[in-house]
């Protein structure tokens, strides 16, 4: 396979570059060409999107080359450059549901092959199990003989039919993925069970929070009142029904209590009805959808941050809340108990009574003044989760992965059939063979050797810094 040949060539080249250093040092100095793949990226906003962007930025800072592949969003098609030469490919693929693309197992191969060959990718890093493009890319990357990493951002159950099907799909795509990254230990347990994985190839690397964006500012608080801030999408999974039970309960007991709720979603109705019924218009403010930059300004107005999620793999919101110096009260679900030390968070059972009791306790503490200052909370939280640390740990995963051998086709078929059950395994072994034949056809039509190589924007030979001066000049001329 041409790709593998190229990869070998490249590692030879890098060996020549750093000839004289020991093998071990080489391993740690090696720069990777990483391709991040997910259906979810800017202009869509959310946890996965910002994770990919910030991780990529930190990897570029460390000298790696990173490109991002996602599907086109409206008129946003083709190649775009973001800060520091982060190149984003918006592939023209059909969106099916919730920004996830259609998957046919084959149709994305020509485009993905173009990107992977032109960019001389060595590691394909796919994100989010909701993304069909991520699954596709893992499958094609293996056909092309590349090493793969997958990051799982969410938790799944095992009981209903949809999770049975997605879990089977995950088993198939992860069966020859080299390494999997999960955002919390609970998420790791979940993924290992869902995809029947060896836990040794699953690393836990938590999400991070840009703590410099979330600094406390107690002057924004109203000291004659106690404000509870909730920032989340207003959907069932975030426990908004519980919030609808908590608001009247606590507002009746504490006349100086305010709620500040940021976010939008179908469950907004519940909150509006509660507000209407109990006449709490002056005390419960619904801010609607917030832009990321406004989140901090809302957070600093509160004393207590409340999270009522019913399921959560990591929960960045509580870290952001704590980083702004708020007392955090949260349901004890999923990975949440792992995220903050016990003295910074009050964990409650996911029901109205327990959450009210937890909030009462914190309100009493707040009144008596027995809480640490926002600045001291911020100081403790700010270094817990940093993107630099995430990038460092992810880099080690890449270092480990590139040394691994990619299974040749017959071994891959064997693995699929032994790992994914006789029926699904055989079907996807067949799909793998077809994919391979399709790749051969594409290679015959346009051989890898005659494909143009893309100009590196980031990475060791990145042109961004050299050219940025010129670019600035031309852009100023234009304007």
């Amino acid at each position: 396979m041409g790709q593998r040949g190229r990869a070998v060539l490249q590692s030879n080249a890098s060996q020549q570059e750093s000839s004289g250093t020991s093998q071990d040092a080489l391993k740690h100095n090696r720069k990777h060409n990483i391709c991040m793949v997910s259906d979810f990226f800017y202009p869509n906003m959310g946890g996965v999107e910002s994770h990919i962007y910030l991780l990529s930025q930190c990897l570029i800072e460390k000298g790696h080359k990173v490109v991002i592949v996602t599907h086109s969003y409206g008129k946003r098609k083709g190649v775009r450059y973001l800060t520091n030469g982060l190149k984003v490919y918006y592939l023209p693929l059909q969106v099916m549901y919730n920004q996830s693309t259609v998957t046919t197992c084959f149709h994305s191969l020509p485009l993905l092959r173009c990107v992977l060959v032109r960019e001389r990718i060595t590691v394909v890093h796919a994100h989010s199990s909701f993304s069909a493009l991520a699954h596709d890319s893992l499958f094609h990357a293996k056909t092309m003989g590349l090493n793969t990493v997958f990051t799982d951002h969410s938790l799944f159950g095992f009981a209903d039919i949809s999770s049975v099907l997605t879990n089977k799909l995950l088993t198939i795509t992860l069966c020859d993925t080299n390494h999997i990254v999960c955002v919390s230990y609970t998420s790791k347990e979940n993924t290992v069970l869902r995809a029947a994985l060896n836990p040794e190839i699953v690393s836990v690397i938590p999400n991070a929070v840009e703590s410099t964006d979330f600094t406390p500012d107690p002057s924004q608080r109203r000291d004659d009142r106690i404000t509870i801030v909730v920032i989340s999408r207003l959907v069932y999974r975030k426990g908004i029904d519980l919030l609808g039970g908590i608001i009247p309960e606590l507002c009746l007991k504490h006349p100086d209590l305010n709620f500040l709720i940021g976010g939008e979603g179908p469950k907004r109705l519940v909150l509006e009805e509660v507000r209407e019924k109990y006449q709490l218009h002056d005390r419960v403010r619904l801010l609607g959808a917030l832009e990321h930059k406004d989140v901090r300004n809302v957070l600093v107005q509160g004393h207590i941050f409340l999270n009522t999620s019913l399921t959560e793999a990591f929960c960045m919101a509580i870290v952001e809340g704590a980083s702004c110096g708020l007392q955090v009260v949260s349901t004890c679900v999923g990975g949440i108990p792992e995220v903050l030390p016990e003295d910074l968070i009050t964990l409650c059972e996911p029901n109205v009574r327990s959450l009210c009791a937890g909030l009462e306790k914190v309100i009493a503490r707040q009144r008596s003044g027995a809480v640490p200052t926002p600045a001291s909370i911020h100081a403790r939280v700010k270094n817990l989760y940093t993107w630099r640390n995430v990038a460092e740990r992810t880099e080690k995963v890449y270092d480990r992965v590139v040394g691994e051998e990619v299974l040749p086709l017959h071994m891959r078929i064997q693995r699929l059939r032994s790992h994914c059950g006789p029926v699904a395994g055989s079907i996807f072994a067949f799909v793998a063979v077809l994919d391979f034949l399709f790749l051969l056809l594409l290679q015959w039509l346009v051989p890898d050797q005659i494909m143009d190589l893309a100009v590196d924007a980031s990475g060791p030979f990145g042109m961004w810094n050299q050219e940025s001066g010129i670019k600035k000049r031309t852009s100023s001329q234009k304007s």
């Binding site: 836990p199 690393s203 519980l242 039970g245 995963v397």
Partner: protein, 294 residues
């Protein structure tokens, strides 16, 4: 703390993310998956208990068979509509009496329907059916007989599939409507208007009133319920046997399958059940939160 750094075990591993621990990122502790719970809240079934419950399914199957038998007799002229009406009346009176007796043994809290109301509904139904039976008789005249039979078969199957076996009283609207539709189809192929009327009354008795009585019987006298089910099954097989031996054999096989083989299958497959729960499951809201809004 990359995946490759050597483990250093003097401090115990903790399942927390906020603390930098001297373990590699892919470290697997002995406590991995310790919160995994299997088959929580699993119900253990006993074979004969399941067979008893499955009896109500077999019984319903036999009801359909009995109804078809009655229709076959009517169609061949072996049973006159007068006799059927008279038998139906007697059965209805007996059943109603039994229903009342069973109701009175334990007085229910809410006000019971008066006899007058029952009589009224019966009178309305009978007069309307009697009045409309000439219309119903000619309703499917333009439809071919094969179509009518196929439709009846499908509808009776739908009746069996959608029948609310756990709570048959009142009968589910979908299954009852399917059954009545099938009986109108079948009744319209009988020779006269009185035949149609008799057939529809019989259908009402079998598909609407009998399940109610049976449910009452099941609640109040569970020991008799089993006997009644067995009786119905034997009646169904015997009745069908007098018309078609193949039909009787097939019915017997179906009944045996439903009442004896399926419970066995359930119990054997129950052992294969592997349901996993853990901290990753979505929390469920058990409280009723609607009173906060309404």
């Amino acid at each position: 703390m990359g995946p490759d750094s050597a483990p250093d075990p003097p401090v115990p591993w903790r399942k927390v993310l906020w603390e930098r621990q001297p373990f590699p990122d892919n470290y697997v502790d002995g406590r991995f998956l310790e919160e995994l719970r299997r088959n929580e809240g699993l119900r253990q079934y006993h074979y004969w208990a399941v067979v008893k419950e499955a009896g109500s399914v077999g019984q319903q199957l036999s009801c359909v068979a009995i109804f078809i038998t009655v229709w076959l007799y009517m169609e061949q002229g072996l049973l006159s509509p007068e006799v059927l009406l008279l038998t139906s009346l007697v059965c209805a009176m007996l059943g109603y009496g039994l229903h009342q007796v069973l109701a009175s043994t334990v007085d229910s809290g809410d006000e019971p329907r008066t006899r007058l109301a029952d009589l009224q509904s019966a009178a309305i139904f009978l007069s309307f059916t009697y009045g409309f039976s000439p219309v119903l008789k000619t309703l499917t005249e333009s439809v071919s007989t094969d179509t009518v039979y196929a439709m009846s078969a499908v509808m009776l199957l739908a009746h069996l599939i959608f029948f609310p076996y756990t709570q048959p009283s009142p009968p589910g609207s979908l299954s009852l409507n399917a059954a009545l539709f099938a009986s109108v189809c079948l009744a319209s192929r009988l020779p006269g208007a009185l035949h149609t009327f008799a057939m529809l009354s019989c259908a009402l008795l079998v598909f609407a009133l009998w399940p109610c009585l049976l449910q009452r019987l099941r609640e109040k006298a569970p020991s008799q319920f089993t006997g009644v089910c067995v009786g119905m099954c034997i009646g169904g097989i015997g009745g069908l046997g007098s018309q078609s031996l193949v039909g009787a054999v097939l019915l017997a096989l179906a009944l045996g399958n439903v009442t004896f083989f399926c419970p066995l299958l359930l119990i054997t497959l129950q052992r294969q059940k592997d349901n996993i729960q853990g901290p990753w499951d979505e929390a469920e809201i058990h409280e009723d939160l609607s009173h906060f809004i309404q």
